[in-house]
């Protein structure tokens, strides 16, 4: 990948710690294949961030990245289950096609990740506004809060999404 003669810190990291990381993930996931995938993704992230020099605590560093991926993985499994449950309640003629389902699931996953970290009421208010087109007065009614609070919720969510889309 690199033509420099110096040892690549990422390659070094991989050689020394890949086995440990894979084992750690396997214990968390109970599945060797999935663990291998996530270990691979972890190193891809490391490559993207390119730590400049050798790390002082390489396993702590790898563990932090891998933990983030694990949480994302579990959250995604949960979303998939919620999605299947929701699909199961639909009458037959409303079922989207398989391709539509795949696209929808990806989109929902992206949205779910985007809204991660918002307070439940803020998330709820924002989803109503975006998906149902509810106005703030209606959201206030549904949540049983004041109009000012509903407006603050929507504004908070917009601020959160803006920061993700357009990082300073």
């Amino acid at each position: 990948m690199s033509l420099t003669v110096q040892p690549d810190p990422v390659a070094e990291l991989y050689r020394s710690h890949h086995g440990w990381l894979h084992g750690w993930l396997r214990r968390k996931l109970g599945c060797s294949d999935k663990a291998a995938d996530l270990a691979h993704d972890t190193f891809l992230r490391v490559l993207a961030r390119r730590p400049a020099s050798a790390l002082e605590q390489p396993r702590a560093y790898l563990g932090t990245i891998a933990r983030g991926l694990l949480i994302d993985h579990w959250r995604r499994r949960e979303l998939e289950q919620a999605w299947l449950d929701t699909l199961a309640t639909l009458p037959q003629p409303q079922l989207p096609s398989l391709e539509e389902r795949a696209i929808l699931l990806e989109t929902l996953h992206a949205i779910d990740r985007m809204l991660d970290g918002l307070k439940p009421a803020v998330r709820q208010a924002f989803l109503w506004a975006q998906l149902e087109g509810l106005s703030c007065p209606r959201i206030a009614e549904r949540l049983g809060v004041s109009l000012a609070t509903a407006e603050r919720y929507v504004a908070q969510a917009l601020r959160h999404c803006y920061a993700l889309h357009f990082p300073a």
């Binding site: 096609s97 696209i103 929808l104 779910d112 504004a155 889309h165």
Partner: protein
């Protein structure tokens, strides 16, 4: 490999805006996009946007974020996103983690049994997306199945019964000569749907099943529509009707010729673009979204169903429209950009 990240692509080239500009734009959005704005407020916003380019940029960015949510089926998306959040939170709260997940799994399995696509399995005939198929029954009846449809048929000594499980079918009833019931009458011809039953009186007609209702349009002869729990209605050639539990009502004309799909086309006069695209969308995979700005554009003509991508391309050559492909399965029809 990684799933698409909503809108992150712009992030790398984006110009950073001061917080106070973004906050002001959000305050405007909350009042105008998510409130009930007065004309005076709108005018004020125009003024604010014109005051500084960065104001307009912030506003435009907020608007662009809406596309994360566009084209999503509202209820499906909302139910899923709410359920996953409740699920995650209740799991964090609950020490009975395994028990609750087991229960949810059982419930899901039960629901799946109630609703999974068994129709395809019990149906005598079905079609996939974009597919059409013709069936001839022993009594001479011809069934044309439209895209993504399923029917089953039961011919007995006493009656001829078609069940429409999903989609749309055109039925040209056979004369049924020589097969009289034991009482010496012709066997009745019935079409059963979840929303009501139709009785054909020597005829050619189209039945379509939608989520909440059924639709029938008669081309020849007559059809009696019997919704669940509502009075029956008799339809003559050229008439169409919606029917659902508790009611049936005349269907307003949308300009499209009923059953033209049996010739592989959509044909009609003065069709709203939104209606045409909704119809075309039934024959292709993925989303076909109509920009609201062109929804009311009126079109007349014949549109081929066999290659819907070519038909969409044809639309852009003959109308001031353009296609935005978000992915192969996600197409948005928009007005041409103003030069």
């Amino acid at each position: 490999m990684n799933p698409p990240k909503a809108g992150r692509a712009e992030a790398t080239t984006a110009e950073a805006l001061p917080d106070e500009v973004v906050d002001a734009a959000i305050a405007w959005a909350v009042k105008l996009d998510y409130g009930t704005p007065t004309p005076a407020q709108r005018a004020e916003l125009e003024h604010w946007l014109a005051a500084d380019q960065r104001h307009a940029l912030a506003w435009q960015r907020l608007r662009s974020m809406r596309k994360d949510f566009s084209g999503l089926p509202q209820k499906l998306a909302l139910d899923t996103l709410n359920a996953v959040d409740n699920r995650a939170r209740s799991r964090r709260r609950s020490s009975l983690k395994l028990l609750s997940l087991g229960g949810a799994g059982l419930f899901a399995a039960w629901m799946a049994r109630q609703h999974t696509p068994w129709q395809r399995l019990v149906a005598d005939a079905s079609t996939g997306l974009g597919e059409r198929r013709r069936l001839e029954l022993a009594d001479g009846t011809v069934l044309d199945l439209n895209t993504d449809s399923a029917v089953s048929t039961t011919l007995t000594d006493d009656s001829r019964l078609i069940q429409l499980h999903r989609g749309e079918v055109r039925i040209a009833t056979g004369a049924d000569t020589g097969a009289l019931t034991r009482r010496g009458a012709k066997r009745p011809f019935l079409v059963r749907t979840p929303h009501g039953t139709l009785e054909a009186l020597g005829t050619r007609f189209v039945v379509r099943l939608e989520a909440e209702r059924g639709w029938v349009s008669v081309q020849e002869g007559a059809v009696s529509v019997q919704p669940e729990a509502a009075p029956a209605a008799l339809l003559r050639p050229g008439e169409s009707r919606w029917f659902l539990h508790g009611a049936s009502l005349p269907a307003p004309a949308d300009g499209m010729e009923a059953g033209a799909w049996t010739d592989g086309v959509i044909a009609g006069h003065d069709i709203r673009l939104a209606d045409l695209l909704a119809e075309l969308g039934r024959y292709r995979r993925g989303f076909l979204v109509c920009d609201p700005r062109v929804a009311d554009l009126r079109l007349s003509g014949i549109y081929q169903l066999n290659d819907t991508d070519a038909t969409l391309a044809f639309l852009t050559r003959t109308q001031p429209l353009q296609l935005k492909y978000r992915s192969r399965f996600w197409v948005r029809v928009e007005p041409l950009d103003q030069p």
